[in-house]
């Protein structure tokens, strides 16, 4: 794993909101095919880092390179086209659309029908819809969402919405998938299901994963490498085993008295 090429480089990124330093000089690499976990206490800057990568925020300083391209100089709507997808901490689905249409909407960048083709529909746009429907159905099968295919997402419970959001991100066929707390608010069983889906997506679809998660046991189980943030600084980086025994991490994250 250590030898695979670098997919994403975060180079000395700082992010300020006024005088609040959300991130200061954070650097890290994401290697192709790995699962990288970002952990840290609340307000450590984990989501800020993800937002910088997905171009939601513009870093005050530093560069973010994805396959050699500087993301800080790219428009937000072009990020998906480069092969980066993400999910959100507070689920950002299209609540008025069905599960199926949410996934179909994510095929947008892979489809070509323009306005006139869509208005005429029969012919090119129809055939294109059918083609992409097959891709989407594969993901629906994969995530076991057949039963909720035509249910409007607004009517789904939290756990299923999280799964639909993962499905929507996978429908983009990304190279890099950013997951912001994919398991918040889930019970043990749902968490295990989700972990299985994430690992399957990683293995079967070859997606590189960056995930933020608070469940330590889970992070230690599935991550290849872990980055620890605290007050906007990176305080440690290494394999789960190294992180588990790193005194600074124990001090900052788990608390001095804990272990």
């Amino acid at each position: 794993m250590g030898n695979s090429p670098v997919l994403l480089t975060v180079d000395q990124v700082s992010l300020n909101f006024g005088r609040v330093q959300a991130l200061s000089h954070v650097s890290c690499d994401v290697r192709e095919g790995e699962i990288l976990a970002i952990i840290g206490p609340n307000g450590a800057g984990k989501t800020s880092l993800l937002n910088c990568i997905s171009n939601f925020y513009k870093p005050t300083k530093g560069r973010i390179l994805f396959e050699g391209r500087d993301l800080t100089k790219t428009k937000p709507s072009q990020i998906a086209g480069l092969g980066i997808a993400r999910t959100f901490q507070n689920i950002a689905l299209y609540t008025g659309l069905s599960t199926l249409d949410n996934l179909m909407a994510a095929r947008h960048i892979h489809m070509k029908s323009g306005m006139l083709a869509c208005l005429a529909y029969w012919g090119f746009a129809h055939r294109e819809d059918l083609r992409h429907r097959e891709v989407v159905e594969e993901i629906i099968d994969f995530l076991e969402m057949e039963a909720i295919r035509k249910t409007v997402v607004g009517a789904l419970p939290h756990g299923l919405r999280k799964r639909v959001e993962l499905g929507r991100a996978l429908a983009l066929e990304p190279k890099l998938l950013l997951l912001d707390e994919p398991m918040t608010g889930m019970n043990q069983e749902e968490k295990e299901d989700m972990a299985r889906f994430i690992l399957d997506a990683h293995e079967l679809r070859g997606v590189t994963l960056v995930l933020i998660e608070h469940d330590m046991g889970l992070v230690m189980d599935i991550a290849d490498r872990v980055i620890v943030l605290d007050f906007g600084r990176k305080i440690a980086e290494g394999t789960p085993e190294e992180i588990r025994t790193n005194p600074e991490v124990i001090n900052a994250y788990l608390g001095q008295e804990h272990i």
């Binding site: 072009q78 998906a80 950002a92 689905l93 299209y94 179909m104 489809m111 819809d129 249910t151």
Partner: protein, 352 residues
């Protein structure tokens, strides 16, 4: 709401699953409905035919507004202004260049669409109520323009007389004949609107409405699709405006006014935002309500002579009150009620 299917009906292909009209009886019902509409002049009274004409034209305008406000989530109070643009363009091209209606209608649509595009530009920066206010500007600027600019051609506040459309030698000079025109165009606009809704375009529209930030990260440029929605809405308004102008044979700056813009938005909300059925139900309900309020006038004055003087004032009162009750008891629109009725029919006899 779970999707309920009649027992024994299976989707054997994605194409069948995606089809709008699925069963033979649905084709038959559609055929009967169209037959009833096209033969209406044979058995319907003049006023009834006129009413259907008016409803059909309103539906077209509301369909456009539905693409913009219902699907894309951009509130617009300028739909009637774009109808004015369409009406004038169509009339002027016919008067001065002697174009056929078959050419002036698309020209009116395109012209109105381009003007709509201009008034869609603020949507880059403003949302919600603020955008509604900026579309309101169209409602002031365009009528002002027709009153004050090019007085030779537009004839100021008096407006201009609009010629009768002639297609293949047939003069559409009576409401009965005009009905064939409006229904045919309504069929086309309905097909186009439903195509827009179910395709890549419609999904992009709803993405922008439901979560424009997520849409952007999924590769959908919100501004691009907002502009396309503004364009399409104005194209529909242009078609409706042109049809109405040729129907009334006269157009001035007040033919389509702010009240009409509000009314069109009211029709859409009443019918159901973001549904294909909404514009039909909403436009029909509101036009019928207006008709009913007008009919109620003489009735009131016959039986309550003392109130006769106030009847004119009662009409908007009756109309506004009914609309209010509708919104309280049917806030998600008539189309949603129709969905519920269908669902309970399929669950019969287990649901009431």
């Amino acid at each position: 709401m779970t999707i309920l299917r009649p027992a024994g009906e299976f989707d054997e292909s994605y194409a069948y699953d995606m089809a709008t009209i699925r069963r033979p009886w649905q084709w038959a019902a559609l055929g009967l409905l169209l037959l009833a509409l096209y033969t209406l002049p044979l058995y319907g009274s003049q006023s009834m035919v006129s009413l259907v004409n008016r409803i059909a034209i309103s539906i077209i305008a509301v369909q456009g507004l539905n693409l913009l406000t219902g699907y894309t989530g951009q509130i617009s109070l300028g739909q009637a202004a774009f109808m004015t643009v369409g009406g004038y363009i169509s009339a002027l091209l016919m008067i001065h260049l002697n174009w056929s209606f078959l050419l002036t209608l698309p020209a009116a649509a395109l012209g109105a669409g381009l003007v709509g595009l201009i008034f869609g530009l603020p949507s880059l920066r403003v949302k919600g109520f603020y955008l509604a206010m900026s579309t309101l500007a169209a409602q002031f600027i365009i009528p002002w323009f027709t009153r004050n600019a090019f007085r030779d051609a537009l004839n100021g506040a008096q407006g201009i007389n609009v010629p009768v459309p002639v297609i293949f030698g047939i003069e559409f000079n009576t409401p009965q004949r005009y009905l064939y025109l409006t229904i045919t165009i309504l069929i086309i606009t309905t097909i186009v609107a439903s195509n827009a809704a179910r395709s890549r375009l419609g999904r992009a529209f709803v993405s922008v409405r439901d979560n424009d930030l997520a849409a952007e990260l999924l590769g959908i440029n919100p501004f691009k699709y907002k502009l396309q929605a503004f364009f399409l809405a104005a194209v529909y308004a242009g078609v409706a405006g042109s049809l109405m102008a040729h129907h009334l044979r006269h157009i001035n700056s007040e033919t389509f006014n702010l009240t009409d813009s509000v009314l069109l938005l009211g029709m859409l909300i009443l019918g159901g935002l973001g549904t294909n059925l909404g514009p039909f139900l909403g436009a029909a309900a509101v036009e019928l309500l207006i008709e009913l309020a007008t009919l109620a006038g003489p009735f009131v004055s016959t039986y309550f002579p003392a109130a006769a003087g106030g009847v004119q004032a009662l009409r908007p009162l009756f109309f506004g009150f009914t609309l209010m009750l509708f919104l309280i008891f049917e806030p998600r629109g008539l189309a949603h009620r129709w969905q519920l009725i269908k669902a309970s029919w399929r669950l019969r006899p287990f649901a009431r």
